[in-house]
Amino acid sequence: MITSPRIRVALVIATLINMVAISIHLKLSHELHEYGRGVKVPIASGVTLLGEKWQADPSVRCHVVRMTSDDCQYCEQDEAAYEEIRVIAKRSQCQVIEVSPIAGKLAPNLRDGVIQLKYVNEDLGVVVEPFITPHTMVLGPGGTLVWMHRGVMGRSAIKDGGKAIRSVGLLDSG
């Protein structure tokens, strides 16, 4: 039993402070998790590494946007995880867009279903975060952002990303 009134008051105050801090924490965690969702990229377009104009095909239901750079060691570290995401994207008939923060930091690497851009239009430029490499996001129908992950992807990020791709893609049997 707590006998000292001072300790009793201190405990009540400490409990209240904790409740406030935990409430703020839950709110911020929710905001961080939900950040950017629903943001739209109405028309993604740009210029490919080969200098050709490119514009997203409106009939493609989803796009995976990957911010990466050849001189980024975390991107190299994340390559296996990204490969898994790319495979899921291909199976789900999603197009993958690779872009580097600064033009010239990405070597051409032709792969089926992957487009590499050196310049982006404003719609796409506002959504991608050039300060963070690697950075992966999934855009659903109408260019709506449905998932994104900043930094190297762990198992749970691959799982969440895969789930997001499947939810907006087509014909995924895996």
Binding site: R8, I17, I24, I43, S100, V120, E129
Partner: protein, 194 residues
């Protein structure tokens, strides 16, 4: 009462009080520790959210002034050894119109020749028909870093002044072309003296 019994009773009471205050004190320490850890985590989460907010982000000074010309489709760039001044701004629904900037360019050209005005069109075809004024270029795309710099500036109602590849100033865009042209001329004059 036996003095020895009395002393034993006092010691027993003291022991009981120690035990009674030890648990609440430990609980109090625990709560303070938890509150401290949660506060630190909250602060980090808050800073991260703040860093993602375009409006509060700082305008990055590095990048590459390269993009695609909206009219010719050719690559547009400023070489790093090129010391000409470039004013980069956005044309969009909420921004100043292209005519506004044409006016600014015309007024600036009469006093400061070496300024190139570069408009980034918010959407394909957003800059309309071919621009027929000297010193004003329209581009449809930039690299992401530069596009971000422009978006951050735009969210603060600013345009960007470069000398070569180097960002010199993110200046407030005034309400009239006369005001903006005067600001550009003043900035160019100041930077030319450096």
């Amino acid at each position: 009462m036996n003095p020895e019994d009395s002393s034993a009773q006092i010691q027993a009471n003291v022991g009981a009080n120690d035990g009674g205050s030890l648990v609440p004190m430990l609980l109090l320490h625990g709560l303070v520790c938890v509150a401290s850890v949660v506060t630190v985590v909250d602060y980090r989460a808050f800073k991260e959210l703040e860093s993602r907010d375009l409006g509060s982000a700082e305008i990055p000074t590095m990048g590459s002034l390269r993009g695609q010309d909206a009219v010719s489709g050719l690559e547009w760039s400023v070489r790093s050894d090129d010391l000409r001044f470039v004013v980069l701004f956005r044309i969009g629904a909420e921004s100043r119109t292209l005519d506004f900037w044409k006016d600014v360019a015309a007024r600036t050209r009469s006093t400061a020749d070496a300024v190139e005005f570069v408009a980034v069109c918010a959407a394909p075809g957003g800059c309309g028909e071919e621009v027929s004024i000297d010193g004003l270029t329209t581009i449809s795309s930039l690299d992401p870093y530069q596009m971000r710099a422009l978006s951050v500036a735009e969210s603060h109602g600013r345009a960007l002044l470069y000398r070569g590849q180097l960002l010199k100033e993110a200046f407030q865009v005034g309400l009239s072309p006369v005001e903006v042209a005067a600001a550009v001329v003043a900035l160019v004059g100041r930077e030319s003296e450096v």
